[in-house]
């Protein structure tokens, strides 16, 4: 968990560094008055490395993923709620003896 977090921070720092080098590269090109076609090759590798590290961290840090299938073993509906709005009280349970010690103390 802490490792994933550290790797995530590291990946973000790499991305920032790649952005800074691209800005510097553009400044250099402005001095030499050339066109900016794209960042240099090593910045592109740095970007892809940052992407991989950040994605890995984003998948591992939040924890266990839950299933979304409605028919998976943990998500399948097993029973419906008992219709409590229509509950009636004169059922056969009325004849059971009431436990005498069940009282609400004030």
């Amino acid at each position: 968990m802490a490792l994933g977090f550290a790797i995530g921070v590291f990946g973000v720092l790499i991305l920032f560094h790649a952005a800074y080098s691209t800005v510097q590269y553009r400044g250099l090109l402005k001095i030499t008055e050339e066109e900016f076609s794209g960042p240099p090759f090593n910045v592109v590798t740095e970007l892809s490395l940052g992407l991989v590290l950040c994605m890995w961290a984003a998948l591992t840090v939040p924890g266990k993923f839950l299933s979304i299938h409605p028919d998976s073993e943990e998500n399948r509906i097993v029973s419906l709620p008992a219709n409590l709005d229509f509950m009636i009280f004169n059922h056969r349970g009325k004849v059971f003896p009431v436990e005498m010690d069940l009282k609400l103390k004030q």
Binding site: H69, P70, D71, S72, E73, E74, N75, R76, I77, V78, S79, L80, P81, A82, N83, L84, D85, F86, M87, I88, F89, N90, G93, K94, F96, V98, E99, L102, K103, L104, K105, Q106
Partner: protein, 302 residues
């Protein structure tokens, strides 16, 4: 809707609480969330929390919901004095509350004084004519007095206003099934499936009703709905598997004398039979020979 994980959690908490292992409050919250009817356990453990002043003050404002839950559970277990005490406490705390008024009328219903309860509900309805729970309690009262046609009439009037209430549709379907009015019950289940198509138990109940009605078209539709139940539950619903086998054999019996069209239905039946046998071998191996003979007789009679 109770999913498998929630059921496992409930069973675990129940066994924990029954063996005096604590966790009563979580159990009560889970029962309230899943809307289950476990009145004896709720009463016992709810009272153990309420009678203990330190645990009661630890609940904070949730204390009053617990009083309400324990009052209803006490009425279900016929401990009417406990219910009366709980309602008195609630009435002292919330003197002008309609919710407490409903509980008092519920207590009158539980005592069996139907006219007083009816008067209480009508007076509550005058103040608030669109209160769904009071309309539903009137239906329940009619059902409790044995006046089933009256209950159906009230419920139909309720559903004309509140058409989206799927609990009421379910109740109406069950009443029709108890009176063997299967066509009307099928209509109610169709409404349920339209509003909540991902709940497999409605498909299962609809298929059961269609299978009971009989006739070739109904049997074919019933088989389709049994298979959709199997699809939605990942093949774990034993009743749907049995339903598929029975439907297929009933269909072949009905079409025996008619034209010999080769149908693909036997594939579904053999697959369902295989899954059933595997399931029985795993869970109840001593009943496996009975199952195999029953399945063989189904395929032989077709």
């Amino acid at each position: 809707m109770v999913t498998k994980t929630e059921e496992n959690q409930l069973n675990r908490l129940e066994s924990q609480v029954d063996n005096a292992g604590g966790g009563a409050w979580e159990y009560l919250c889970l029962v309230r969330k899943l809307k289950l009817r476990r009145s004896d356990k709720v009463l016992k453990h709810g009272l153990s929390i309420l009678n203990n002043p330190s645990k009661r003050s630890a609940l904070g404002p949730e204390e009053w919901t617990l009083y309400e839950q324990v009052a209803v559970a006490a009425m279900d277990c016929q401990s009417l004095d406990v219910a009366k005490d709980c309602i008195k406490v609630l009435r002292k705390k919330f003197p002008d509350s309609k919710r407490v008024g409903r509980l008092e009328a519920l207590l009158l219903e539980a005592k069996g004084s139907w006219e007083l309860a009816d008067k209480a509900y009508s007076s509550l309805l005058e103040d608030n004519p669109l209160d769904q729970t009071i309309h539903k309690r009137r239906v329940a009262m009619a059902k409790a007095q044995g006046n089933i046609p009256g209950a159906i009439e009230w419920l139909n009037k309720y559903l004309e206003i509140f058409m989206a209430d799927h609990d009421a549709w379910r109740e109406l379907a069950e009443i029709y099934v108890s009176l063997q009015m299967y066509k009307q019950a099928a209509f109610c289940y169709e409404e349920l499936i339209l509003s909540q198509p991902t709940v497999p138990l409605y498909h299962l109940a609809y298929a059961d009703v269609l299978y009971t009605l009989g006739g070739l078209e109904n049997l074919q539709t019933a088989k389709k709905y049994y298979t959709s139940t199997i699809d939605l539950t990942g093949g774990k619903n034993t009743r749907a598997l049995f339903g598929v086998c029975l439907c297929t054999s009933a269909i072949t019996q009905v079409t025996k004398g008619k034209s010999k069209e080769e149908k693909e239905g036997s594939q579904v039946q053999s697959l369902a039979a295989k899954v059933l046998e595997k399931d029985y071998k795993q869970r109840a191996p001593d009943k496996l020979p009975q199952l195999t003979t029953a399945l063989k007789s189904l395929t032989l009679s077709s």
